[in-house]
């Protein structure tokens, strides 16, 4: 229990260091752009593949489960849309990104720690926490919501595609379902969640890497720890935000 509170304290102090005044804004701008490419753009492929398959699978599952003369077919499109927008493209995608981006951040910063690159920055008079972590947080907070929108579109398109290819349902009904009781606030809710998730993934993973010590084995452990803690944080955050925003 003591260790838990110690970690919370260390995390808070680290964040305080991260959000202190940057050394030179122009450098940070370049670094944010670089991180957007590394952490955001490079995740588009994975997002697309997973979203298209999940969108297709959800449509198929719904079509099989909701096969009843009492349930109109357009409900399949409606259910797919709700699953994709409300949970998959934010929460599940965030869990996937915690695995990809989170482990990447923790291992990168952890390696920098054990090879004394962070010490080298500190000796130069650079606020290493801010220099290394702030651009990553800003980049993911801006980019992950776009990944979520992209995932929603691809997932829903995947559902349409499977309806068209397999003929399991009429694609026109699917589109009708997509438009049924559609509130844009659902997308806003999903994007707000994604902003929080992006912060959780990046800051927790950076924390795990920043305080790694020892050898490469410890970097591996820090990376695993980053994924596990980020995932738990995402689940808790999801529950809290759903309660706050949706009820």
């Amino acid at each position: 229990m003591f260790k838990f509170f110690e970690s919370i304290g260390k995390y808070t102090l680290l964040m305080q260091k991260v959000f202190s005044r940057p050394e030179k804004r122009s450098i940070y701008y370049t670094r944010i752009m670089h991180e957007m490419e590394t952490l955001g753009l490079n995740s588009i492929g994975l997002t697309a593949i997973i979203s298209i398959f999940i969108g297709s699978a959800v449509t198929l599952q719904m079509a099989i489960t909701l096969e009843s003369p009492f349930i109109p077919q357009f409900m399949i499109g409606y259910a797919t849309r709700e699953v994709m927008i409300l949970e998959f493209s934010s929460t599940v995608l965030a869990l996937i990104l915690a695995g990809k981006v989170g482990s990447n951040i923790a291992s990168e910063i952890g390696t920098m720690r054990i090879t004394e690159q962070i010490d080298a920055l500190e000796i130069m008079g650079v606020n290493s926490a801010s220099y290394l972590i702030l651009p990553k947080i800003v980049a993911t907070i801006f980019f992950f919501p776009f990944l979520a929108i992209f995932s929603m579109l691809i997932g829903i398109a995947g559902g349409y595609g499977i309806a068209e290819i397999t003929g399991i349902m009429n694609p026109t009904d699917y589109v009708e379902g997509l438009r049924y009781y559609f509130y844009t606030s659902e997308i806003t809710y999903s994007l707000v969640k994604m902003v929080f998730f992006a912060f959780c993934i990046t800051s927790i993973s950076a924390y795990c890497g920043y305080y790694a010590k020892g050898n490469s084995l410890e970097v591996g452990k820090a990376s695993t720890r980053a994924v596990v803690i980020s995932s738990i944080a995402i689940m808790i955050c999801n529950l809290v935000l759903t309660q706050l925003i949706r009820t």
Partner: protein, 251 residues
């Protein structure tokens, strides 16, 4: 000049540095030597502020560095260059980007001026053709030389080197030693080198501080070592049978 006064440092109740006092002069290469685990790396890291000392003081000329806060230290750190054991170059940046980083962060120079300075520093360490190479593409000696270039790019007044020769062959080690020594003289820097390479001691040791079990056990010049009667120092410096015979012949 860097002055150390009664420095004590412990980790988890274990005393690592026990009341160390010494002075490192300007324009000379000062060497800290000692066995592995003797506390010399802790001393070096305490000198640059990577470890906080428990007691005692560290002075950079007349400024008491150990009592300064982060912001005040930042001003001094612009005058500090450090070469780490493994080079500590940023893996994701090229050699030129690594050397340019301090200029990007702390100067308002134009891109041309910065590149001119980078070229000058890389030329000084004989790495003029390595601009676009990444650290993973460099040999051990090249990494050390790139680290030296980065350390001197802001014209530091204090240069710290943590085992600059580790992992290098004897010839490359001497090249690195002489490079550090020449730069020290050229820019009138206070240089402190942490080493257990006896070639370095005999080559460039203008002042040598021997740390034994966390205490300053002996200090003097490279010439004094040959005539020193300190048994721990002699056991350390003249560890091999051949070195012992050489010492006897000098005596």
């Amino acid at each position: 000049m860097i002055k150390v006064e009664n420095v004590i440092k412990s980790f988890e109740g274990r005393d690592i540095l026990k009341n160390i006092s010494t002075e490192f002069g300007t324009g000379q290469t000062n060497l800290i030597i000692g066995r592995s685990g003797s506390g010399k790396t802790v001393l070096l890291k305490s000198l640059v502020g990577l470890h906080e000392v428990d007691k005692g003081a560290i002075y950079y000329d007349d400024i008491c560095f150990s009592t300064l806060d982060f912001r005040a230290r930042k001003a001094i750190r612009k005058d500090v260059g450090m070469i780490f054991q493994g080079g500590a170059l940023l893996d994701a940046s090229t050699v030129a980007e690594n050397v340019k980083l301090p200029l990007d962060l702390f100067t308002d120079q134009s891109e041309e001026e910065k590149m001119e300075r980078v070229n000058l520093c890389l030329k000084r360490v004989n790495l003029e053709n390595a601009h676009k190479l990444y650290p993973s593409e460099l040999s051990g000696g090249m990494v050390k030389r790139a680290a030296i270039a980065r350390a001197i790019v802001l014209n530091p007044r204090y240069l710290f080197c943590d085992e600059p020769n580790s992992g290098l062959d004897p010839q490359t080690s001497i090249v690195i030693d002489n490079l550090i020594s020449d730069i020290t003289k050229e820019y009138n820097i206070t240089t402190i080198i942490n080493t257990h390479d006896m070639n370095s001691v005999m080559e460039i040791g203008e002042k040598v501080v021997f740390i034994y079990e966390g205490q300053k056990w002996w200090e003097g010049t490279k010439d004094d070592i040959l005539h020193a009667d300190n048994p721990e120092l002699n056991d350390f410096v003249f560890a091999s049978a051949m070195a012992k015979r050489a010492k006897m012949s000098v005596k």
